[in-house]
């Protein structure tokens, strides 16, 4: 409790409890979120990763997007429960999401708390002050997000989505730092016989910067101005702020009890408490409850609207106390904001409609630089590049959980429209045949969930084999790296006249996993490469007789005549032992 407050009353204590409760909840949520992306000790991959994406923005995209493409699919049900659950809870209990569940919100709070600390040390008080809202920027940002989805550029929408921003910040910025620490600690750890510290995975400087810049900017702003991002640019904040206005339970300011001392405004990181005017901008209140214990007269409380009272006195504005900030230049005009919020309300309905609209081809062309050649391959379940790029907000969850690391954020491979969206980088690794993790985890439905047996036939790309570059022909030595890695048998080694098995390729059963591409040792150019497909196809199932009926390939043609299949009857065999 502030030393300056004279009264110690139940309302303030309740406020304290609410604040503590919020901090505990949000602490757990943030830890789980970080664990989901960074994978604590490589143990809890699936569990926390699924939990990490229980957030509003991916929920809305997943719900609408999945419904439009697949109807009432599993992801639709999951995201509908998440989305509607959060919306209903907000409509009843106020905008608690932004202070309790949102990882970016919590990160900002930590920084802004640090700002408090440093400020308090210097000037002896906390230092927020009422600032008018920025309704036009807020509306413009909201429209931009919707427009991005209409234009089929989920990656741009992802730049304003707090979930995607947090996710990629952890994956592309924090994880490399953790890996670097691991790299430094590894020599120490192995003295104790420990080998679990991980080394650098594939590291992209551009992804590091692209993920670090916006979040760093948001956090710097948070240091000085609290939740300014949440109340101007964040689409989730705009939607929930709108709902907060009508929530029966929310933080309320009783103008009758308020002495306009300004104590609350100094701790309000949403800068939504206009103490001279004795009003609270509910569209910007993030329900952090910090103001409740700060108020010496219990004018602030969390609860339902009080019964109508005699008309509140147009009380004289008491001069603000010494520490209080200068009064705001323009007391916000309520009617204006109300109409703005109505706009936001209607645009949130619009956004739902917009997501369902098919991407407009012309606008897409406008936004996209030409994708690189050879065309990049999208992850399994993407269906088509257009569909994938519309719904993917580039949160990086699939990249963080991909067991082989083949999923990498695109810097230029997809062109501008697909910035940071994941593609299969065969230089790093290849798509694992026995794995559906990315499709299982994708919270937005950009990757459709498919059963493993079906995924094994999804054609993400097609290989092409140039025998002139192949080791077997250029060096005349055995290789077969492509064939041994090929999970379907579309590349296989066949006996040849030279005695060295030669590769043979069958396009119909190739799924474009990139195993052959990744492992091909030929220099300077690979002999077998995979090109992505703009529309994913379906490969034929591998033939049953592919390996069963052919004779086992042998490296030595010369010996095959005499003792090829001599089984256990070779010279020197004893009893039924083969030797």
């Amino acid at each position: 409790m502030k030393p300056g407050s004279r009264l110690r009353i139940p309302a303030a204590q309740a406020g304290h409890l609410l604040v503590r409760f919020r901090i505990v909840v949000t602490g757990f949520i943030l830890i789980a979120f970080v664990a989901g992306f960074l994978g604590v000790g490589r143990v809890f991959d699936g569990l926390f990763a699924s939990f990490s994406s229980v957030q509003l923005f991916p929920g809305v995209v997943g719900m609408v997007g999945t419904f439009c493409s697949d109807g009432v699919a599993a992801l639709f049900v999951v995201s509908a429960v998440v989305t509607l659950g959060l919306i209903i809870l907000t409509a009843v209990f106020g905008r608690f999401y932004c202070s309790s569940l949102c990882p970016l919100g919590t990160m900002q709070d930590i920084v802004s708390w640090a700002g408090h600390r440093s400020h308090r040390r210097r000037r002896g008080t906390r230092r927020f002050a009422w600032e008018p809202g920025l309704p036009f920027i807020r509306l413009a940002a909201f429209i931009l997000v919707i427009a991005a989805f209409i234009l089929g550029a989920g990656s741009i929408a992802g730049f304003l989505d707090p979930y995607s921003q947090s996710g990629r910040f952890l994956q592309y910025t924090i994880l490399p730092l953790v890996d670097f620490a691991g790299h430094l600690l590894a020599p120490l750890a192995r003295r104790f016989g420990l080998y679990w510290l991980r080394d650098f995975a594939a590291f992209s400087v551009w992804a590091f910067v692209a993920a670090a810049l916006p979040v760093t900017a948001i956090l710097i702003v948070a240091f000085f101005r609290g939740r300014l991002f949440c109340n101007t640019l964040c689409p989730v904040g705009s939607l929930l702020g709108f709902l907060n206005r009508f929530a029966p339970l929310r933080v309320r300011l009783d103008a009758g009890t308020c002495t306009a001392c300004g104590a609350c405004a100094r701790v309000c990181k949403a800068e939504c408490l206009d103490t001279p005017a004795r009003t609270l901008d509910a569209s910007r209140c993030v329900s952090c409850f910090s103001c409740l214990p700060a108020c010496p007269t219990s004018a602030l409380r969390y609860g339902p609207k009080p019964p109508p009272e005699p008309p509140r006195s147009e009380s004289v504005r008491e001069p603000t106390s010494a520490q209080a900030p200068a009064p705001s230049p323009t007391p916000a005009s309520d009617p204006g904001r109300r109409s703005f919020l109505k706009k936001i309300g209607s645009s949130s309905v619009l956004s739902v409609m917009a997501l369902s609209a098919p991407p407009i081809a012309g606008a897409v062309e406008l936004l996209s630089l030409k994708p690189a050649r050879p065309a990049p391959a999208a992850p399994p379940g993407a269906r088509s590049l257009v569909q994938f790029q519309s719904a993917c907000t580039a949160c990086g969850l699939c990249v963080s959980k991909c067991p082989s690391g083949v999923l990498q954020p695109s810097i230029v491979r997809y062109g501008a429209r697909g910035f940071l969206q994941p593609y299969l980088d065969y230089e790093v690794s290849y798509c694992q045949y026995e794995c559906t993790l990315c499709t299982d985890l994708c919270p937005t439905g950009a990757l459709k969930r498919i059963p493993l047996e079906e995924k094994k036939l999804v054609q993400m790309g097609t290989a092409s084999l140039v025998k002139e570059k192949c080791i077997v022909f250029t060096h005349k030595t055995a290789c077969g790296a492509c064939a041994e890695h090929c999970p379907t048998g579309s590349v296989r080694m066949v006996p040849s006249a030279t005695g060295i098995p030669e590769p043979e390729f069958d396009e119909l059963i190739c799924i474009g996993c990139g195993a052959c591409h990744h492992i091909c040792p030929a220099l300077p150019e690979k002999s077998i490469t995979v090109t992505g497909k703009a529309g994913q196809g379906r490969a034929l199932a591998p033939r049953k007789d592919l390996f069963g009926l052919v004779e086992s390939p042998s490296p030595e043609g010369d010996a095959s005549a005499g003792n090829g299949k001599d089984g256990g009857k070779a010279a020197g065999a004893v009893d039924d032992f083969p030797f």
Partner: protein, 331 residues
Amino acid sequence: MDRRDFLRNAARLGLGGGAAYLLGGGSVRLFAQAATAGSGTGSLSATDTGKSTTSGKPSSATRQPDLVAVKGGEAEALFDAGIVALGGMGAFVRKGQTVVIKPNIGWAQAPEVAANTNPKLVKRIIEHCLNAGAKKVYVFDNSCDSWTLSYRNSLIEKYAKEAGAEVVPPDSSGYYQEVSFPGAVSLKMARIHELVVESDVFINVPVLKNHSGAGMTAAMKNLMGMVWDRQFFHRYNLDQCIADACLFRKPDLNVIDAYKVMKTGGPRGYSSSVYDLAKFQILSTDIVAADAAASRTLGFEPSRFRYIRMASDKKSGQMDLSKLDILRLTI
């Protein structure tokens, strides 16, 4: 010389002494089986006396065979019998030593596919090592498929942890040290996992199967999984590199798992792969001899595989099975 003394001591204790290393009640039964098998086939004395002089080992009535082949049981039982015949695990692992076990965990495949070493065999070997007083037993393989999926799907991670081994992720390049391979033709230098460099005992536990590139994969080919840059092998003469790979450090013991042998569609294995349920196992300290025996098991003459001939030329081991003391056991 130390090890030879040890072998001699262990042999003096007899097969029963070796069996005493085993855990639990099964030891008595296994000892009985091993003893019966030895006397039943009668091959121990026959091969011993015939070829012992050429193998260069000291002629002693109690010395160990060059190679032990065991058939007719589960992978664990095969190993129990086989290791007894080699003087027990105590002949290889002394108290306080560190052991690295290198199975084949190349593929994210289930044990039934037999693309990886039988997980139960790996577990059994670890138990023997710890029972012999090993300070620490490490298990690792630089997999082809994603190591997390390969370790998991093969069940080797699970079984090895159950047995008390340290399962080491292979994906950190920092743990691979540059070493030279004396006398190598192609693979003169390579980065190999430091566990292979530093562990006191190196046990190679491959699975026997067909291989699209090398023809067969068994003991020598399995050493490719200790190397960081696998592409080097394919790029600069696969057969030669496989032969060169055993010039840095030969495993102290090779245990080839031929319980279920993939005869076609290797090394990854396909639904159409043909199998031979051989219930077989080959144990030897001689990596070339082990591969020679393995090629016969697969149905081919050892000379058919170029890398076996190359390794033999480099005197890495004996590929002529007729020059080896072979103990054949049926349990």
